[in-house]
């Protein structure tokens, strides 16, 4: 199972698409590591610096609605993964991106808007860390002297099984005879 938790990168915009997460011109790469430097390269967002220190240190992304819409490219979760970002927390996800995250054994956690707002509010007092407790299904957000904010999340049985198995290939391989 992957490691989850650490410094949070906040992306305060809805409908961030997978072209913004990794532009199509890098889709000729057949090595996931080569995607690393280009993650979020085309994201236009006030206060966000592509390739900047906030991105480089991040292990968790907190964002708004419909994250990962558009192209089905799994290069988007891979580009996050090779940057050690294994958790995305959002108000909602596009279907394919969400499934791709779990298929890779990563976490795509949906929270109600008020909990996302709480996390964003915490960010005003300094850099935020997020700890993930997969057994208790809780997130612990802390920021300098403020917080902590403890937030419960829901994870489907299937999604949890994928995360614990390390992904869909591992899960399917142990369950279905090869055709």
């Amino acid at each position: 199972m992957k490691q989850f938790g650490g410094p949070v990168l906040f992306l305060d915009r809805r409908d961030i698409n997978t072209d913004e997460i990794i532009p199509a011109k890098y889709l000729t790469e057949v090595d996931k590591a080569a995607l690393g430097p280009h993650v979020l390269e085309d994201l236009k967002l006030e206060g966000f610096e592509p390739g900047g220190s906030a991105l480089r240190s991040a292990r968790v992304i907190v964002t708004r609605e419909n994250f990962g819409c558009g192209s089905s490219r799994e290069h988007a979760p891979w580009a996050l993964e090779v940057n050690d970002i294994t958790v995305v927390i959002a108000e909602s996800f596009a279907r394919i991106f969400r499934q791709n995250m779990f298929n890779c054994g990563m976490l795509a956690i949906e929270l109600p808007k008020r909990d996302i707002d709480t996390a964003f509010a915490l960010a005003r007092s300094g850099p935020v860390e997020c700890a993930v407790d997969l057994d208790r299904k809780t997130l612990l957000f802390t920021a300098g002297g403020c917080g902590p904010a403890n937030v419960a999340f829901v994870l489907g049985q299937f999604e949890e099984a994928l995360v614990r198995a390390g992904g869909w290939v591992e899960f399917a391989d142990s369950r279905y005879a090869s055709g």
């Binding site: 532009p23 000729t28 057949v30 799994e74 909602s92 499934q99 890779c104 049985q157 869909w168 399917a172």
Partner: protein, 427 residues
């Protein structure tokens, strides 16, 4: 209680229900292209599981960057080629016979009513036009599909779209789907299936139905389905003749996949097309849609006619009818990309390519190329393209470029004036 087409297809394909709410479907076909498949192949090789569940149910094409533009794209193509050969995948389409997947595979008769289809491409929803459950997936789902012939889904709710009325002059399937996306927004159909119903859909050709279904994902939908009928049978006839003998029997057989009259829907949306006008996107999201007549003076640098949305023969006919006898405006580049080798050949026979070339267009080989800024028509910073494609995301056709999505008629009209233009002035 009656069932929707999607419920019927799910029920007929259940392989496993590992957890509540999760259905693992057996797949009728798995489609592959050279952008999302090579990493699945490499992973299977690394796991020492380089096998396929059924070579006759896997169809593969090199379409995104073809002919290869550099060493990296050539490597992707070679991985596909070698893989298809070593597994005996006979339906493999390379330079000379290839085309944009979502135009090519239907043309070859690979999609049938009632099928389950996955591909590592979000516009896989296009095949819903045939009354199939077809969903775009990532590389890991594709990898398991290739190896086991299965894919997991949560049962999607169905949103029924009743598209009624009389199609006005200058308005096409593309305008209808842009109107639907405008009303639903880019997440309005997330985790849902769209069912395209109504008299307008019934009288549409398969090309038009594919244009509708193609952009279902731009509203977040898992798939967008039309009811199989005599139009579906006519389109598929050369491929299903042996199986059915006569068309009536085929239509009756496929009717089992139509939604029941008393099926339950999560929601319905009525779309009256009678007063619809030509539409165009004006931002970086496909739901930012305006009437062409209301966008004002928007200068363009390039016209692009092609893609899995609007690169089929009927699209080229519509665009050529408007371009005929005109020249591209000064300073405007025109690119026509017939979506498949057969579309190219037929457009040539009908003289359409000559019309475009006389107008000053460049006619390229079939490829996805420019639509996602990979090749054959990438924009420079601050350049503007009138495009028949499906995505206007920031950077989509090249960093800093702006893409305005519209119908082939509107794109051809825009090429003549050098500005976003209303096609009705040229009809």
């Amino acid at each position: 209680m009656g069932k929707t087409i999607t419920e019927k297809i799910f029920d007929a394909h259940v392989k496993d229900t590992p957890f509540e709410g999760v259905v693992v479907l057996s797949l009728d076909v798995v489609f592959c292209h050279e952008i999302t498949t090579p990493i699945a192949i490499a992973d299977l090789v690394w796991r020492e599981k380089d096998r396929v569940f059924d070579a006759s149910r896997i169809k593969a094409v090199i379409d995104h960057v073809t002919p290869s533009k550099d060493t990296k794209s050539a490597t992707q193509a070679k991985i596909m080629r070698d893989w298809a050969r070593r597994h005996g995948i006979r339906d493999f389409f390379d330079v000379g016979s290839n085309g944009v997947c979502h135009a090519l595979f239907p043309e070859k008769g690979f999609v049938r009513p009632g099928y389950t289809v996955i591909m590592g491409d979000s516009h896989t929803c296009t095949y819903g036009a045939f009354g199939a459950f077809a969903a775009g997936v990532g590389t890991t789902d594709l990898e398991v599909g290739i190896l086991k012939g299965v894919c997991a889904f949560r049962r999607p709710a169905t949103m029924r779209l009743d598209i009624e009325g009389h199609m006005p002059k200058g308005v096409y399937a593309k305008d209808i789907i842009l109107e639907i996306i405008r009303r639903l927004t880019v997440s309005g159909a997330t985790n849902k299936v769209m069912e395209f119903r109504g008299n307008v859909v019934e009288s549409m050709s398969m090309d038009e139905r594919m244009t509708l279904a193609n952009m279902a994902v731009e509203a977040g939908a898992t798939s967008g389905l039309c009811m199989p009928d005599t139009v579906t049978v006519d389109y598929l006839w050369t491929h299903i003749k042996g199986e059915f003998g006569d068309k009536k029997k085929a239509a009756e057989t496929y009717a089992r996949w139509r939604s029941d009259d008393d099926a339950q829907y999560e929601s319905t949306l009525a779309v009256d097309v009678s007063h619809l006008e030509p539409l165009v996107t004006v931002g970086y999201k496909p739901d930012q849609v305006k009437k062409v007549s209301e966008v004002g003076d928007v200068r363009i640098d390039q016209v692009y006619i092609g893609s899995c949305t609007n690169g089929r023969l009927s699209d080229l006919r519509v665009a050529a009818a408007i371009a005929r006898g005109h020249k591209l405006a000064d300073g405007v580049r025109g690119i026509v990309c017939p979506a498949t080798t057969d579309v190219y050949r037929q457009a040539m026979k009908e003289g359409l390519l000559e019309v475009f070339m006389d107008a000053g267009y460049c006619v390229t080989n079939p490829t996805c190329g420019a639509c996602l800024g990979m090749s054959n028509g990438v924009l420079a910073e601050k350049e503007v393209c009138a495009s028949t494609t499906n995505r206007n995301f920031n950077g989509r056709m090249g960093k800093g470029g702006m893409v305005h999505l519209m119908s082939p008629a509107s794109a051809a009209a825009s090429g003549i004036t050098g500005r976003i233009a209303d096609p009705r002035e040229f009809l």
